[in-house]
Subunit: 431 residues, 2 copies
C-alpha cells in the first residue's frame, strides 16, 4: 500500500519532504574511493581479488574469449525480441546524428562545426545472473556503434559460475561489441577509467549501475586523469499523473513495474481524488501477489506515495519540481500537458503508453536523468558519443573587418599580448 | 625562451612528460570544500566574510542595483567592439539551436524530441579590477539568452573599491542579464549551487574561473543537491603547429598571447626544425619586452616547450594525444590536417587566423575543453543551456506489434512486473 498525502493540506516542509528522494547510502564515497585506489595501484590483481570478495568467484581470466562470445546461443523468441528492439533503437539514435555545418559570421570569417566519435568508450551493464540487463546494453552500445567509436569495451559482472549470461553475449555481439570483461561493480568503473594490464583506459563511461557503480562514475569523472561519464545516476523512478478516466489497474501495473527495479526505486502517483488513490492501492495489493520481486517491491513502496491534488496548475508545479526520470501522463488530454513541462527524463502519453514499452522497444533511450537531474541533464543519445569542435578560418578581409574590435576588447581586458597577436598581422598586411 | 625538445630522441617516459600538464595545486580540494561548507551553513554572511578575507573589501550589499547597471557608461569604441562581438556570437549560437522532431520507429509508436531551456542558470565571470573578462561574459550570457533560460544570474568579483568594471556591467546589460552579484571565487560558485538569502539556487553553472572556482564547480557538480556545470576546466592552453613557411613573429605572438592568461597556461609549439625553434625563441624574446604581463608570461614559459618533430604522422599523434584546447595550424596546407584530428577544443586555420580573433570576435565559443578534456567534451554552445526529452506516444497498434517483444525482454531480465504492465494492456485490448 502506498501512503496517501493530500497535497493541499500539507505544510511547506511536508510538501518538500513529500517530493524528497530516499537518502543515499552513508559513507559510500569512502568505500568506493578505496576500491578505486586499489585498482589504480594493483590493476588486474585488485579486480581478481574484488571478484573473490564481492562476487565470491575465482576468475582465471578477465576477458571473455572470442569463442565464447561466438558460441553463445539463445532462444529464438529472445533473438526476435532483441532484433525488434535493436531496429527501433537504431532508428532513433541515427535520427540524433548531427550534421557538420559551416557558417560565415562575417566577411572573411568561416566557422565549420565538425563532429568526431569519442575514441575509446567503456560500457557498463549490471546484471550477474538474476537480472542480466540486456536492454541497458542495447541502449548504450547501439549509439556507440552509430557514432563510430573505434574502441568499445564492455564490463559486466559474472554470474556465480563466473560466466556471462548468453543473452548478454548475444546482445553485445549484435551491437558490434567484441571486447567483454567479466568485472562488475565500482572496480569495473575504476578499471576502465584508469586502465589495468588487461583492460584499456577509456575516455568516457556509459551505463547505469547500482549505487556503488554510480558513485564510482561520479568520482572518476572529477579526475582529469579519469574518464568522463554519460550522466549522473541515481535509483530509477516514476511519476504517474492520472485523471478519473484512467484504469486503476494500468496505473498500479506501471507503479509496480518501476518499484521492482530496486528497494530504492521511488514511485509517485499524482491523482485528483482519494477515491482514485484507494482504487490504485487495491490494485497494487492484488497485482503484486504473484510477482517474483515482491520483497523488493514491498520495500520500495515504503519510500513511495500517492499525492492527491486536484489542481492542474499545482500538479504541473509538482512535476517540474520533482523532475521525474519517467513521467506517465495517463489523462484524457495527455498531449495538452506537454508544453507546460520543463524538467523530466521522458514522457509517456496516454493509457496505452506503458513505461515498460519505452524501457525495451520504442527506440527511445531508457538511460535517463534520475534524482532531479532532469532539471539540467538529458537522456542518452548518439550526441553523447561524439565530441564537436569548430574549425575557424580567418582571412585578410576578416582580420581587417574585426581585428580592431578584437584589439579593443583585448585592451579592455588588460591582455596586450592578445592585442599584439592581431596588430602584428594587421601591420604585416599593410606593408 | 622555450625549452626545445627533439621528439624523436626522447624516451617513451620523456615523451609522456613532454605532453604532461602542470600539476594542480595541492590540497586545493580541501580548502574549497571548507569554503563551500561555510556558504551552505552561513549563506550571505559567509560571502561577506570571504569578500573581506580574500578581496579585502567590506561590502554593504551583494547585489548590484538596477540604477548602477543602467548608469554604467563606457567608451564608444568599447561599445562598438562589444556590439561586433555580440553580433557574431549571436549568429553562431543561434545556428546551434536544435529543432524538435518526431520519428515513428514502428507503426503506432511516435517519439517526439522536445527541448526546454534550463530554468535557472548561474553565470560566473572572473575579473575584479585588472582583467574584467568581458568576452567570457559574452560567451556564456548570449547562449543563455538565445536558449531562453528564464532565470539568469551573474556573479563576478568586485574591484578594490567594491565596484564592478563598467564594461562588464554594460556587457551584461547588452546580453539581458539584470541580476548581478559582486561575489567571486569558490564562494560565488557555492552560493549559486546551493542558494543563500540573497542569491538564488540555480540548476547549472557556466563560465571558467581560476583554479579555486574550477575546483568548486567540480565539487558542486558531484552533489545531486548542487548544480550541473558547463564543462570541467583547467588552465587555458595552446598548441601551435607550424611548417617552414610560417612567420616566426606570428607564431611567437600567438604563443605569448596564450602565455599571458596565467602562470599555469601552457603553450606548445610543434615544428619541423631546430632552426624554426630558434627563430621563434628569438621573436619571443623580442616581443615580450613591452608586454604588461611579462612576469606572468615568464613563468608560464617555464612550463611550456617547443617540440621539434618533422614527421607529419607523429605530429598528428602528438596533437590527438595532447588534445589541446586551442590548436593553431600555421601550415601551407592547413585545411588538409583537419580530417586526421579528433581531439581538440577548436582549430585556427592558416597564417591570419590568430587565436585572439577567436577569443573575441569570430563568434565561435571560447569556452572550451582544457586539460585533455577535448577527448570527451566539446566547447560551449546553446545546446548546453537546454535539456531535451522524448515524448513517447504508443497506441493500440504499437502495443500489439511490439508489446510481445517487450514482454520477452522483461522476462529475460527477470522483471515480471514490467511484463505484467504490458500484458495487462494487451489483455484489456482483446476483451
Amino acid at each position: 500500500m502506498l501512503a496517501v498525502k493530500n497535497w493541499q493540506l500539507l505544510s511547506l516542509d511536508e510538501k518538500k519532504l513529500c517530493l524528497s528522494r530516499p537518502a543515499p547510502i552513508a559513507n559510500q564515497r569512502v568505500v568506493v574511493n578505496q576500491i578505486i585506489e586499489q585498482v589504480k595501484l594493483f590493476g588486474d590483481n585488485a579486480l581478481l581479488e574484488f571478484s573473490q570478495k564481492f562476487d565470491g568467484i575465482t576468475l582465471k581470466t578477465l576477458q571473455v574469449s572470442e569463442e565464447k562470445i561466438k558460441a553463445a546461443r539463445i532462444k529464438p523468441e529472445a533473438l526476435v525480441a532483441m532484433q525488434n528492439a535493436i531496429a527501433t533503437i537504431t532508428q532513433y539514435q541515427q535520427s540524433q546524428l548531427p550534421e557538420s555545418k559551416t557558417l560565415s559570421t562575417a566577411p572573411g570569417i568561416r566557422i565549420t562545426t565538425v563532429y568526431r566519435p569519442i575514441q575509446r568508450v567503456g560500457l557498463y551493464t549490471a546484471g550477474g545472473n538474476k537480472t542480466p540487463l540486456i536492454s541497458s546494453l542495447l541502449m548504450i552500445a547501439i549509439p556507440a556503434q552509430i557514432a563510430g567509436c573505434p574502441i568499445k569495451v564492455l564490463c559486466t559482472p559474472p554470474d556465480p559460475s563466473g560466466e556471462i549470461n548468453p543473452n548478454l553475449l548475444v546482445a553485445a555481439r549484435l551491437c558490434g561489441i567484441e571486447t567483454i570483461y567479466t568485472v562488475g561493480g565500482a572496480q569495473a568503473i575504476a578499471a576502465m577509467a584508469y586502465g589495468t594490464e588487461t583492460i584499456p583506459k577509456v575516455d568516457k563511461l556509459f551505463g547505469p549501475g547500482n549505487s556503488y557503480v554510480n558513485e564510482a562514475k561520479t568520482i572518476v569523472s572529477c579526475d582529469p586523469q579519469g574518464a568522463a561519464i554519460d550522466l549522473p545516476a541515481g535509483p530509477s523512478e516514476v511519476m504517474v499523473v492520472a485523471d478519473e478516466q484512467a484504469d486503476p489497474a494500468f496505473i498500479a501495473a506501471d507503479l509496480l513495474a518501476q518499484a521492482e527495479h530496486g528497494v530504492d526505486s521511488q514511485v509517485i502517483l499524482l491523482c485528483n481524488s482519494e477515491g482514485m488513490a484507494d482504487l490504485v492501492n487495491q490494485e497494487i495489493g492484488k497485482q503484486m501477489q504473484n510477482l517474483s520481486r515482491k520483497n523488493c517491491i514491498e520495500k520500495s513502496l515504503l519510500i513511495s506515495r500517492i499525492i492527491v491534488c486536484p489542481d492542474r496548475t499545482e500538479q504541473i508545479a509538482i512535476i517540474n519540481n520533482y523532475a521525474p526520470e519517467h513521467l506517465i501522463i495517463n489523462c484524457i488530454d495527455a498531449a495538452n500537458w506537454v508544453d507546460k513541462i520543463n524538467a523530466v527524463g521522458t514522457i509517456f502519453l496516454g493509457a496505452w503508453a506503458a513505461e515498460a514499452m519505452g524501457d525495451y522497444v520504442t527506440g527511445s533511450s531508457h538511460v535517463l536523468p534520475t534524482n532531479g537531474y532532469a532539471k539540467n541533464c538529458s537522456g542518452l543519445s548518439t550526441l553523447d558519443y561524439l565530441t564537436c569542435f569548430n574549425v575557424q578560418t580567418i582571412d585578410k578581409e576578416g582580420l581587417r573587418a574585426l581585428g580592431p574590435s578584437a584589439i579593443t576588447l583585448a585592451q579592455l581586458e588588460g591582455l596586450d599580448a592578445h592585442a599584439q597577436a592581431v596588430q602584428l598581422r594587421l601591420n604585416t598586411m599593410e606593408n
